[in-house]
Amino acid sequence: MTLRLRSGQARAGFVIVALVVAGAVFAPWVWPWDAAAQDLPHRLAGPSWQHWFGLDELGRDILARVLLGARVSLLVGIVVVGVSSVVGMAVGSVSGYFGGRVDQIIGRIMDVLMAFPGMLLAIALVAVLGPSIVNVVMALAVIGWVGYARLVRGQVLRAREFEYVTAARAIGAGTIRILTRHVLPSALPPLLVQATLGMAGAILSEAALSFLGLGVQPPTPSWGTMINGGRVHLLDAPHLTIFPGLFLAVVVLGFNFLGDGLRDAIDPRRR
Protein backbone atom coordinates (compact mmCIF):
# COMPACT_ATOMS: atom_id res chain seq x y z
CA MET A 1 0.00 0.00 0.00
CA THR A 2 1.63 3.20 -1.13
CA LEU A 3 0.12 6.47 -0.04
CA ARG A 4 1.40 9.82 -1.15
CA LEU A 5 0.46 12.91 0.77
CA ARG A 6 -0.14 15.27 -2.12
CA SER A 7 -1.83 18.17 -0.43
CA GLY A 8 -0.06 20.86 1.53
CA GLN A 9 -2.53 20.36 4.37
CA ALA A 10 -1.58 16.71 4.72
CA ARG A 11 2.13 17.52 4.70
CA ALA A 12 1.55 20.24 7.30
CA GLY A 13 -0.33 17.67 9.40
CA PHE A 14 2.54 15.20 9.10
CA VAL A 15 5.10 17.84 10.14
CA ILE A 16 3.00 18.95 13.15
CA VAL A 17 2.50 15.38 14.34
CA ALA A 18 6.19 14.52 13.81
CA LEU A 19 7.31 17.63 15.73
CA VAL A 20 4.99 16.91 18.66
CA VAL A 21 6.06 13.26 18.83
CA ALA A 22 9.72 14.35 18.76
CA GLY A 23 9.06 17.03 21.40
CA ALA A 24 7.27 14.53 23.65
CA VAL A 25 9.93 11.83 23.29
CA PHE A 26 12.96 14.09 23.65
CA ALA A 27 11.38 16.55 26.13
CA PRO A 28 14.09 16.29 28.82
CA TRP A 29 16.86 16.89 26.24
CA VAL A 30 15.25 19.65 24.18
CA TRP A 31 14.05 21.74 27.12
CA PRO A 32 16.21 22.06 30.21
CA TRP A 33 13.52 22.80 32.80
CA ASP A 34 12.08 20.10 35.07
CA ALA A 35 8.28 19.90 34.82
CA ALA A 36 7.98 19.31 38.58
CA ALA A 37 10.53 21.88 39.83
CA GLN A 38 8.88 24.79 41.66
CA ASP A 39 10.01 28.41 41.69
CA LEU A 40 7.44 29.84 44.09
CA PRO A 41 8.81 33.41 44.28
CA HIS A 42 8.20 33.76 40.53
CA ARG A 43 4.85 31.96 40.37
CA LEU A 44 2.52 33.09 37.55
CA ALA A 45 5.40 34.90 35.81
CA GLY A 46 4.62 35.55 32.14
CA PRO A 47 6.58 34.29 29.12
CA SER A 48 10.26 35.24 29.08
CA TRP A 49 13.52 34.20 27.37
CA GLN A 50 14.15 31.78 30.22
CA HIS A 51 10.63 30.35 30.40
CA TRP A 52 9.07 30.67 26.94
CA PHE A 53 5.52 29.83 28.10
CA GLY A 54 5.92 31.35 31.58
CA LEU A 55 5.39 29.76 35.01
CA ASP A 56 2.22 28.30 36.54
CA GLU A 57 0.59 28.87 39.95
CA LEU A 58 3.29 26.77 41.65
CA GLY A 59 6.15 28.32 39.69
CA ARG A 60 6.57 25.31 37.39
CA ASP A 61 7.74 25.80 33.80
CA ILE A 62 4.67 25.60 31.55
CA LEU A 63 6.53 24.51 28.39
CA ALA A 64 8.13 21.61 30.25
CA ARG A 65 4.69 20.59 31.51
CA VAL A 66 3.12 21.00 28.06
CA LEU A 67 5.79 18.71 26.58
CA LEU A 68 5.24 16.16 29.34
CA GLY A 69 1.50 16.55 28.79
CA ALA A 70 2.09 15.65 25.14
CA ARG A 71 3.42 12.27 26.27
CA VAL A 72 0.22 11.63 28.24
CA SER A 73 -2.00 12.74 25.35
CA LEU A 74 -0.16 10.74 22.70
CA LEU A 75 0.00 7.67 24.93
CA VAL A 76 -3.74 7.83 25.62
CA GLY A 77 -4.41 8.38 21.91
CA ILE A 78 -2.23 5.45 20.81
CA VAL A 79 -3.65 3.01 23.39
CA VAL A 80 -7.28 4.05 22.77
CA VAL A 81 -6.91 3.86 18.98
CA GLY A 82 -4.92 0.60 19.23
CA VAL A 83 -7.42 -1.18 21.49
CA SER A 84 -10.48 0.25 19.68
CA SER A 85 -9.22 -0.67 16.22
CA VAL A 86 -8.16 -4.21 17.17
CA VAL A 87 -11.49 -4.91 18.94
CA GLY A 88 -13.44 -3.15 16.18
CA MET A 89 -11.61 -5.12 13.47
CA ALA A 90 -12.25 -8.46 15.20
CA VAL A 91 -15.93 -7.74 15.93
CA GLY A 92 -16.60 -6.09 12.56
CA SER A 93 -15.04 -8.91 10.55
CA VAL A 94 -16.89 -11.61 12.50
CA SER A 95 -20.16 -9.67 12.09
CA GLY A 96 -19.69 -9.04 8.37
CA TYR A 97 -18.25 -12.43 7.43
CA PHE A 98 -20.70 -14.67 9.26
CA GLY A 99 -23.79 -12.45 8.91
CA GLY A 100 -27.11 -13.89 10.11
CA ARG A 101 -27.86 -13.99 13.82
CA VAL A 102 -24.29 -13.14 14.88
CA ASP A 103 -24.46 -9.99 12.76
CA GLN A 104 -27.87 -9.08 14.19
CA ILE A 105 -26.78 -9.46 17.82
CA ILE A 106 -23.59 -7.46 17.26
CA GLY A 107 -25.61 -4.88 15.32
CA ARG A 108 -28.03 -4.36 18.23
CA ILE A 109 -25.14 -3.95 20.72
CA MET A 110 -23.57 -1.35 18.41
CA ASP A 111 -26.94 0.42 18.02
CA VAL A 112 -27.22 0.78 21.80
CA LEU A 113 -23.67 2.12 22.15
CA MET A 114 -24.24 4.52 19.24
CA ALA A 115 -27.40 5.75 20.97
CA PHE A 116 -25.22 7.54 23.50
CA PRO A 117 -24.05 10.87 22.15
CA GLY A 118 -20.29 11.19 21.71
CA MET A 119 -18.47 11.29 24.95
CA LEU A 120 -21.45 11.01 27.27
CA LEU A 121 -20.93 7.30 27.93
CA ALA A 122 -17.24 7.94 28.62
CA ILE A 123 -18.20 10.63 31.16
CA ALA A 124 -20.67 8.23 32.77
CA LEU A 125 -18.18 5.35 32.93
CA VAL A 126 -15.37 7.45 34.39
CA ALA A 127 -17.85 8.98 36.84
CA VAL A 128 -18.66 5.58 38.33
CA LEU A 129 -15.24 3.90 37.94
CA GLY A 130 -13.38 6.89 39.35
CA PRO A 131 -11.04 9.42 37.73
CA SER A 132 -7.77 7.89 36.50
CA ILE A 133 -5.87 7.60 33.25
CA VAL A 134 -6.58 3.85 33.01
CA ASN A 135 -10.32 4.41 33.39
CA VAL A 136 -10.19 7.18 30.77
CA VAL A 137 -8.53 4.81 28.29
CA MET A 138 -11.05 2.08 29.09
CA ALA A 139 -14.04 4.40 28.74
CA LEU A 140 -12.82 5.86 25.45
CA ALA A 141 -12.10 2.38 24.06
CA VAL A 142 -15.59 1.18 25.07
CA ILE A 143 -17.16 3.87 22.88
CA GLY A 144 -14.36 3.88 20.28
CA TRP A 145 -14.47 0.33 18.89
CA VAL A 146 -17.96 0.73 17.44
CA GLY A 147 -16.85 3.09 14.65
CA TYR A 148 -14.07 0.71 13.56
CA ALA A 149 -16.39 -2.31 13.74
CA ARG A 150 -18.98 -0.63 11.49
CA LEU A 151 -16.32 0.36 9.01
CA VAL A 152 -14.71 -3.10 8.89
CA ARG A 153 -18.10 -4.83 8.72
CA GLY A 154 -18.98 -2.80 5.63
CA GLN A 155 -15.65 -3.57 3.99
CA VAL A 156 -15.91 -7.29 4.82
CA LEU A 157 -19.46 -7.49 3.44
CA ARG A 158 -18.12 -6.09 0.18
CA ALA A 159 -14.91 -8.10 0.08
CA ARG A 160 -16.45 -11.51 0.87
CA GLU A 161 -18.21 -11.46 -2.49
CA PHE A 162 -14.97 -10.94 -4.44
CA GLU A 163 -13.93 -13.81 -6.67
CA TYR A 164 -10.52 -14.25 -5.07
CA VAL A 165 -12.22 -14.80 -1.70
CA THR A 166 -14.59 -17.35 -3.22
CA ALA A 167 -11.56 -19.00 -4.85
CA ALA A 168 -9.72 -19.13 -1.51
CA ARG A 169 -12.78 -20.71 0.08
CA ALA A 170 -13.01 -23.21 -2.77
CA ILE A 171 -9.42 -24.41 -2.32
CA GLY A 172 -10.13 -25.05 1.35
CA ALA A 173 -8.72 -21.98 3.13
CA GLY A 174 -9.98 -21.64 6.73
CA THR A 175 -12.10 -18.73 7.98
CA ILE A 176 -9.27 -17.08 9.92
CA ARG A 177 -6.92 -17.33 6.95
CA ILE A 178 -9.54 -15.90 4.58
CA LEU A 179 -10.27 -13.04 6.96
CA THR A 180 -6.68 -12.14 7.81
CA ARG A 181 -5.02 -12.76 4.43
CA HIS A 182 -7.70 -11.89 1.91
CA VAL A 183 -10.53 -9.84 3.41
CA LEU A 184 -9.03 -7.57 6.07
CA PRO A 185 -6.16 -6.15 3.97
CA SER A 186 -8.74 -4.42 1.76
CA ALA A 187 -10.15 -2.71 4.86
CA LEU A 188 -6.78 -1.36 5.99
CA PRO A 189 -6.61 1.94 4.03
CA PRO A 190 -9.94 3.34 5.33
CA LEU A 191 -9.04 1.97 8.76
CA LEU A 192 -5.80 3.94 8.69
CA VAL A 193 -7.75 7.14 7.94
CA GLN A 194 -10.18 6.42 10.77
CA ALA A 195 -7.30 5.68 13.17
CA THR A 196 -5.58 8.98 12.32
CA LEU A 197 -8.77 10.95 12.85
CA GLY A 198 -9.41 8.77 15.91
CA MET A 199 -6.11 9.97 17.43
CA ALA A 200 -7.42 13.54 17.22
CA GLY A 201 -10.70 12.48 18.82
CA ALA A 202 -9.04 10.49 21.61
CA ILE A 203 -6.61 13.30 22.47
CA LEU A 204 -9.45 15.83 22.55
CA SER A 205 -11.65 13.52 24.65
CA GLU A 206 -8.89 12.83 27.17
CA ALA A 207 -8.28 16.56 27.51
CA ALA A 208 -12.02 17.20 27.94
CA LEU A 209 -12.33 14.53 30.64
CA SER A 210 -9.24 15.87 32.41
CA PHE A 211 -10.66 19.40 32.13
CA LEU A 212 -13.81 18.16 33.92
CA GLY A 213 -11.63 16.63 36.64
CA LEU A 214 -12.44 13.08 35.48
CA GLY A 215 -9.20 12.23 33.71
CA VAL A 216 -5.51 12.52 34.51
CA GLN A 217 -5.06 13.67 38.09
CA PRO A 218 -2.51 16.27 39.31
CA PRO A 219 0.43 16.45 39.66
CA THR A 220 0.69 14.48 36.34
CA PRO A 221 0.49 17.16 33.66
CA SER A 222 -2.30 16.90 31.10
CA TRP A 223 -3.38 19.65 28.73
CA GLY A 224 -6.99 19.42 29.94
CA THR A 225 -6.00 19.63 33.61
CA MET A 226 -3.68 22.57 32.85
CA ILE A 227 -6.43 24.49 31.03
CA ASN A 228 -8.82 23.87 33.92
CA GLY A 229 -6.22 24.95 36.49
CA GLY A 230 -5.52 28.10 34.49
CA ARG A 231 -9.16 29.23 34.57
CA VAL A 232 -8.73 30.59 38.10
CA HIS A 233 -5.94 32.86 36.83
CA LEU A 234 -7.59 33.82 33.56
CA LEU A 235 -7.41 37.53 34.38
CA ASP A 236 -3.99 37.83 36.02
CA ALA A 237 -2.10 35.06 34.15
CA PRO A 238 -3.90 34.02 30.93
CA HIS A 239 -0.76 32.24 29.67
CA LEU A 240 -1.64 29.35 32.00
CA THR A 241 -4.67 28.64 29.81
CA ILE A 242 -3.50 29.92 26.41
CA PHE A 243 -0.42 27.74 25.83
CA PRO A 244 -1.74 24.28 26.77
CA GLY A 245 -4.91 25.00 24.77
CA LEU A 246 -2.95 26.23 21.77
CA PHE A 247 -0.78 23.11 21.83
CA LEU A 248 -3.84 20.89 22.10
CA ALA A 249 -5.61 22.65 19.21
CA VAL A 250 -2.52 22.47 16.98
CA VAL A 251 -1.93 18.76 17.65
CA VAL A 252 -5.58 17.91 17.00
CA LEU A 253 -5.45 20.03 13.84
CA GLY A 254 -2.29 18.16 12.78
CA PHE A 255 -3.99 14.76 13.10
CA ASN A 256 -7.10 16.09 11.33
CA PHE A 257 -4.99 17.47 8.45
CA LEU A 258 -3.15 14.16 8.19
CA GLY A 259 -6.35 12.09 8.32
CA ASP A 260 -7.98 14.24 5.66
CA GLY A 261 -4.89 14.00 3.46
CA LEU A 262 -4.78 10.21 3.80
CA ARG A 263 -8.48 10.04 2.91
CA ASP A 264 -7.87 12.10 -0.21
CA ALA A 265 -4.90 9.92 -1.12
CA ILE A 266 -7.02 6.77 -0.78
CA ASP A 267 -10.10 8.13 -2.52
CA PRO A 268 -9.07 10.29 -5.49
CA ARG A 269 -12.72 11.32 -6.13
CA ARG A 270 -12.54 13.50 -3.02
CA ARG A 271 -9.76 15.63 -4.41
Binding site: I109, L120, F211, G245, N256
Partner: protein
Protein backbone atom coordinates in the same frame (compact mmCIF):
# COMPACT_ATOMS: atom_id res chain seq x y z
CA UNK B 1 -46.04 5.98 4.73
CA UNK B 2 -47.66 4.80 7.97
CA UNK B 3 -45.87 1.46 7.62
CA UNK B 4 -42.51 3.24 7.34
CA UNK B 5 -43.28 5.33 10.44
CA UNK B 6 -44.37 2.30 12.47
CA UNK B 7 -41.29 0.31 11.44
CA UNK B 8 -38.94 3.10 12.54
CA UNK B 9 -40.73 3.55 15.87
CA UNK B 10 -40.70 -0.20 16.60
CA UNK B 11 -36.97 -0.40 15.74
CA UNK B 12 -36.23 2.34 18.28
CA UNK B 13 -37.78 0.38 21.17
CA UNK B 14 -34.98 -2.22 21.64
CA UNK B 15 -32.40 0.58 21.40
CA UNK B 16 -34.17 2.54 24.14
CA UNK B 17 -34.39 -0.62 26.26
CA UNK B 18 -30.67 -1.23 25.74
CA UNK B 19 -29.87 2.35 26.72
CA UNK B 20 -31.96 2.03 29.88
CA UNK B 21 -30.24 -1.28 30.73
CA UNK B 22 -26.80 0.26 30.31
CA UNK B 23 -27.73 3.26 32.44
CA UNK B 24 -29.18 0.95 35.10
CA UNK B 25 -25.97 -1.08 35.22
CA UNK B 26 -23.84 2.05 35.75
CA UNK B 27 -24.38 2.10 39.53
CA UNK B 28 -23.34 -1.56 39.70
CA UNK B 29 -20.03 -0.74 38.01
CA UNK B 30 -18.99 1.37 41.01
CA UNK B 31 -16.00 -0.44 42.56
CA UNK B 32 -17.08 -1.93 45.90
CA UNK B 33 -20.34 -0.91 47.56
CA UNK B 34 -22.04 2.06 45.80
CA UNK B 35 -23.64 3.21 49.08
CA UNK B 36 -20.25 3.16 50.82
CA UNK B 37 -18.70 5.06 47.89
CA UNK B 38 -21.42 7.73 48.09
CA UNK B 39 -21.07 8.22 51.85
CA UNK B 40 -17.29 7.89 52.01
CA UNK B 41 -15.01 5.52 53.88
CA UNK B 42 -15.71 7.02 57.30
CA UNK B 43 -19.48 6.46 57.17
CA UNK B 44 -21.19 4.50 59.95
CA UNK B 45 -22.29 0.96 58.89
CA UNK B 46 -25.88 1.80 59.87
CA UNK B 47 -25.91 4.84 57.54
CA UNK B 48 -24.51 2.73 54.70
CA UNK B 49 -27.17 0.08 55.29
CA UNK B 50 -29.90 2.77 55.36
CA UNK B 51 -28.70 4.25 52.07
CA UNK B 52 -28.51 0.80 50.47
CA UNK B 53 -32.11 0.23 51.50
CA UNK B 54 -33.29 3.64 50.28
CA UNK B 55 -31.58 3.11 46.90
CA UNK B 56 -33.07 -0.38 46.70
CA UNK B 57 -29.60 -1.93 46.45
CA UNK B 58 -30.51 -4.56 49.07
CA UNK B 59 -33.04 -6.10 46.68
CA UNK B 60 -32.32 -8.80 44.06
CA UNK B 61 -30.86 -7.44 40.81
CA UNK B 62 -33.90 -8.41 38.72
CA UNK B 63 -36.24 -6.59 41.15
CA UNK B 64 -34.00 -3.50 40.97
CA UNK B 65 -33.99 -3.67 37.16
CA UNK B 66 -37.78 -3.99 36.84
CA UNK B 67 -38.24 -1.16 39.34
CA UNK B 68 -35.80 1.03 37.40
CA UNK B 69 -37.55 0.39 34.08
CA UNK B 70 -40.98 1.02 35.62
CA UNK B 71 -39.67 4.23 37.18
CA UNK B 72 -38.10 5.37 33.90
CA UNK B 73 -41.36 4.77 32.05
CA UNK B 74 -43.44 6.62 34.63
CA UNK B 75 -40.91 9.45 35.01
CA UNK B 76 -39.79 8.44 38.50
CA UNK B 77 -35.98 8.40 38.55
CA UNK B 78 -35.61 8.20 42.32
CA UNK B 79 -34.39 10.84 44.75
CA UNK B 80 -31.20 12.84 44.70
CA UNK B 81 -28.69 11.66 47.28
CA UNK B 82 -27.45 15.25 47.66
CA UNK B 83 -30.66 17.27 47.88
CA UNK B 84 -33.32 14.66 48.66
CA UNK B 85 -35.44 16.11 45.82
CA UNK B 86 -36.95 13.89 43.11
CA UNK B 87 -34.36 13.56 40.30
CA UNK B 88 -37.03 14.07 37.64
CA UNK B 89 -38.02 17.43 39.14
CA UNK B 90 -34.37 18.56 39.29
CA UNK B 91 -33.86 17.61 35.64
CA UNK B 92 -37.13 19.11 34.38
CA UNK B 93 -36.21 22.40 36.08
CA UNK B 94 -33.00 22.52 34.01
CA UNK B 95 -34.35 21.33 30.65
CA UNK B 96 -35.25 24.85 29.37
CA UNK B 97 -31.70 26.14 29.96
CA UNK B 98 -30.07 23.24 28.08
CA UNK B 99 -32.65 23.36 25.29
CA UNK B 100 -32.09 27.11 24.89
CA UNK B 101 -28.32 26.62 24.68
CA UNK B 102 -28.59 23.66 22.26
CA UNK B 103 -30.94 25.49 19.90
CA UNK B 104 -28.90 28.72 20.00
CA UNK B 105 -25.63 26.90 19.30
CA UNK B 106 -27.19 25.00 16.38
CA UNK B 107 -28.48 28.27 14.95
CA UNK B 108 -24.99 29.79 15.27
CA UNK B 109 -23.60 26.72 13.52
CA UNK B 110 -26.10 26.84 10.64
CA UNK B 111 -25.64 30.59 10.10
CA UNK B 112 -21.84 30.16 9.85
CA UNK B 113 -21.70 26.79 8.09
CA UNK B 114 -24.04 27.09 5.13
CA UNK B 115 -22.53 30.27 3.60
CA UNK B 116 -19.03 28.89 4.26
CA UNK B 117 -19.82 25.53 2.64
CA UNK B 118 -21.53 27.17 -0.34
CA UNK B 119 -18.62 29.55 -0.94
CA UNK B 120 -16.14 26.66 -0.73
CA UNK B 121 -18.14 24.49 -3.16
CA UNK B 122 -18.82 27.23 -5.71
CA UNK B 123 -15.17 28.29 -5.78
CA UNK B 124 -13.86 24.72 -5.49
CA UNK B 125 -10.09 24.35 -5.68
CA UNK B 126 -9.41 28.06 -5.24
CA UNK B 127 -7.81 29.90 -2.35
CA UNK B 128 -11.33 30.67 -1.06
CA UNK B 129 -12.12 26.96 -0.84
CA UNK B 130 -8.78 26.27 0.85
CA UNK B 131 -9.32 29.10 3.36
CA UNK B 132 -12.89 28.08 4.16
CA UNK B 133 -11.99 24.43 4.67
CA UNK B 134 -8.89 25.22 6.72
CA UNK B 135 -11.09 27.41 8.92
CA UNK B 136 -13.55 24.53 9.17
CA UNK B 137 -10.85 22.03 10.13
CA UNK B 138 -9.48 24.49 12.70
CA UNK B 139 -13.00 24.86 14.11
CA UNK B 140 -13.21 21.08 14.67
CA UNK B 141 -9.80 21.09 16.33
CA UNK B 142 -10.29 23.94 18.80
CA UNK B 143 -11.65 22.53 22.05
CA UNK B 144 -14.69 24.40 23.39
CA UNK B 145 -13.28 24.28 26.92
CA UNK B 146 -10.39 26.43 25.66
CA UNK B 147 -12.34 28.65 23.29
CA UNK B 148 -14.97 29.46 25.94
CA UNK B 149 -12.60 31.03 28.49
CA UNK B 150 -10.73 32.91 25.72
CA UNK B 151 -13.98 34.38 24.38
CA UNK B 152 -14.91 35.36 27.94
CA UNK B 153 -11.57 37.18 28.41
CA UNK B 154 -11.94 39.18 25.19
CA UNK B 155 -15.67 39.94 24.99
CA UNK B 156 -16.68 39.91 28.65
CA UNK B 157 -13.63 41.06 30.57
CA UNK B 158 -11.61 43.24 28.18
CA UNK B 159 -14.37 44.72 26.01
CA UNK B 160 -17.17 44.40 28.56
CA UNK B 161 -19.74 43.76 25.84
CA UNK B 162 -21.17 40.52 27.22
CA UNK B 163 -21.73 38.92 30.63
CA UNK B 164 -19.05 36.46 31.76
CA UNK B 165 -21.41 33.74 33.01
CA UNK B 166 -24.89 32.82 34.18
CA UNK B 167 -28.27 32.81 32.46
CA UNK B 168 -30.79 35.61 32.13
CA UNK B 169 -30.89 37.84 29.10
CA UNK B 170 -30.19 37.00 25.46
CA UNK B 171 -26.72 38.51 25.90
CA UNK B 172 -25.90 35.75 28.40
CA UNK B 173 -26.51 33.23 25.64
CA UNK B 174 -24.08 34.67 23.07
CA UNK B 175 -20.72 33.39 24.36
CA UNK B 176 -21.88 29.88 25.36
CA UNK B 177 -23.71 29.48 22.02
CA UNK B 178 -20.67 30.54 19.98
CA UNK B 179 -18.31 28.44 22.06
CA UNK B 180 -20.52 25.37 21.59
CA UNK B 181 -21.63 26.07 18.02
CA UNK B 182 -18.26 26.64 16.36
CA UNK B 183 -17.20 22.99 16.18
CA UNK B 184 -20.60 22.06 14.81
CA UNK B 185 -20.34 24.89 12.26
CA UNK B 186 -17.03 23.45 11.11
CA UNK B 187 -18.48 19.97 10.57
CA UNK B 188 -21.59 21.33 8.84
CA UNK B 189 -19.54 23.56 6.54
CA UNK B 190 -17.55 20.54 5.32
CA UNK B 191 -20.74 18.56 4.80
CA UNK B 192 -22.47 21.45 3.00
CA UNK B 193 -19.51 21.70 0.64
CA UNK B 194 -19.44 17.95 -0.09
CA UNK B 195 -23.20 17.73 -0.51
CA UNK B 196 -23.38 20.80 -2.77
CA UNK B 197 -20.49 19.54 -4.92
CA UNK B 198 -22.41 16.29 -5.50
CA UNK B 199 -25.50 18.22 -6.55
CA UNK B 200 -23.57 20.64 -8.78
CA UNK B 201 -22.41 17.67 -10.85
CA UNK B 202 -25.97 16.45 -11.40
CA UNK B 203 -27.51 16.70 -14.85
CA UNK B 204 -30.44 18.88 -13.75
CA UNK B 205 -28.01 21.61 -12.65
CA UNK B 206 -26.16 21.45 -15.97
CA UNK B 207 -29.51 21.54 -17.77
CA UNK B 208 -30.51 24.65 -15.80
CA UNK B 209 -27.22 26.31 -16.75
CA UNK B 210 -27.76 25.32 -20.40
CA UNK B 211 -31.19 26.97 -20.26
CA UNK B 212 -29.46 30.20 -19.32
CA UNK B 213 -29.91 30.15 -15.53
CA UNK B 214 -27.07 32.12 -13.95
CA UNK B 215 -24.41 30.37 -11.89
CA UNK B 216 -25.75 31.91 -8.68
CA UNK B 217 -29.29 30.96 -9.67
CA UNK B 218 -28.31 27.36 -10.38
CA UNK B 219 -26.68 27.12 -6.96
CA UNK B 220 -29.37 28.78 -4.86
CA UNK B 221 -32.56 27.78 -6.67
CA UNK B 222 -31.56 24.25 -7.70
CA UNK B 223 -28.49 22.62 -6.15
CA UNK B 224 -28.54 24.13 -2.65
CA UNK B 225 -32.14 23.13 -1.93
CA UNK B 226 -31.44 19.48 -2.71
CA UNK B 227 -28.08 19.46 -0.97
CA UNK B 228 -29.74 20.56 2.27
CA UNK B 229 -31.70 17.29 2.63
CA UNK B 230 -28.69 15.13 3.62
CA UNK B 231 -27.59 17.93 5.94
CA UNK B 232 -30.67 17.33 8.02
CA UNK B 233 -29.27 13.95 9.08
CA UNK B 234 -25.89 15.45 9.89
CA UNK B 235 -27.52 18.17 12.00
CA UNK B 236 -29.52 15.55 13.90
CA UNK B 237 -26.46 13.34 14.40
CA UNK B 238 -24.51 16.34 15.65
CA UNK B 239 -27.26 17.09 18.14
CA UNK B 240 -25.64 14.44 20.31
CA UNK B 241 -22.32 16.25 20.12
CA UNK B 242 -24.10 19.45 21.10
CA UNK B 243 -25.65 17.75 24.15
CA UNK B 244 -22.24 16.38 25.22
CA UNK B 245 -20.55 19.69 24.46
CA UNK B 246 -23.19 21.41 26.57
CA UNK B 247 -21.89 19.46 29.58
CA UNK B 248 -18.56 21.31 29.23
CA UNK B 249 -19.95 24.67 28.07
CA UNK B 250 -22.46 24.80 30.92
CA UNK B 251 -19.64 24.09 33.37
CA UNK B 252 -17.48 26.91 31.95
CA UNK B 253 -20.21 29.55 31.79
CA UNK B 254 -22.09 28.49 34.96
CA UNK B 255 -25.12 27.83 32.74
CA UNK B 256 -27.79 26.18 34.93
CA UNK B 257 -28.61 23.25 32.61
CA UNK B 258 -28.57 19.45 32.74
CA UNK B 259 -24.88 19.23 31.83
CA UNK B 260 -23.86 21.32 34.83
CA UNK B 261 -26.17 19.28 37.04
CA UNK B 262 -24.49 16.11 35.74
CA UNK B 263 -20.96 17.33 36.54
CA UNK B 264 -22.01 18.63 39.96
CA UNK B 265 -23.69 15.30 40.72
CA UNK B 266 -20.57 13.37 39.67
CA UNK B 267 -18.58 15.49 42.12
CA UNK B 268 -20.98 14.58 44.95
CA UNK B 269 -21.25 10.94 43.85
CA UNK B 270 -24.97 11.47 43.54
CA UNK B 271 -25.44 8.40 41.34
CA UNK B 272 -29.26 8.52 41.03
CA UNK B 273 -29.00 12.04 39.55
CA UNK B 274 -26.07 11.00 37.32
CA UNK B 275 -28.16 8.10 36.01
CA UNK B 276 -31.15 10.38 35.47
CA UNK B 277 -29.16 12.98 33.51
CA UNK B 278 -27.45 10.34 31.32
CA UNK B 279 -30.77 8.59 30.66
CA UNK B 280 -32.50 11.81 29.67
CA UNK B 281 -29.69 12.95 27.36
CA UNK B 282 -29.47 9.53 25.65
CA UNK B 283 -33.27 9.27 25.29
CA UNK B 284 -33.41 12.77 23.81
CA UNK B 285 -30.68 11.83 21.34
CA UNK B 286 -32.45 8.64 20.24
CA UNK B 287 -35.74 10.54 19.90
CA UNK B 288 -34.16 13.31 17.82
CA UNK B 289 -32.61 10.68 15.53
CA UNK B 290 -35.95 8.92 15.23
CA UNK B 291 -37.77 12.14 14.36
CA UNK B 292 -35.06 12.90 11.78
CA UNK B 293 -35.50 9.45 10.26
CA UNK B 294 -39.24 10.04 10.01
CA UNK B 295 -38.76 13.52 8.58
CA UNK B 296 -36.20 12.23 6.11
CA UNK B 297 -38.64 9.58 4.92
CA UNK B 298 -41.21 12.31 4.49
CA UNK B 299 -38.86 14.58 2.52
CA UNK B 300 -37.32 11.88 0.34
CA UNK B 301 -39.84 9.22 -0.83
CA UNK B 302 -37.01 6.93 -2.00
CA UNK B 303 -36.06 6.29 1.64
CA UNK B 304 -39.47 5.02 2.76
CA UNK B 305 -39.83 2.69 -0.22
CA UNK B 306 -36.44 1.04 0.36
Amino acid sequence: MLGYFMKRVVLAIPVLLGVATLVFSLIHLVPGDPAQAMLGDGAAPQDVADLRRSLGLDQPLTTQYVKFLRGALSGDLGKSFRTGQPVTAMIVERVPATAELAVASMLVAIVIAIPLGVVAAVWRGTIIDFGAMTFALAGVSIPNFWLGPLLAIVFAVELGWLPVSGRGTLLHLVLPAISLGLALAAILARMTRASLLDELNELYVRAARARGVSRAGAVTAHALRNSLVPLLTIIALQFGAVLTGAVITETIFAWPGIGRLLIQSIGFRDYPTVQGCILLIAFTYVTVNLVTDLLYGFLDPRIRFE
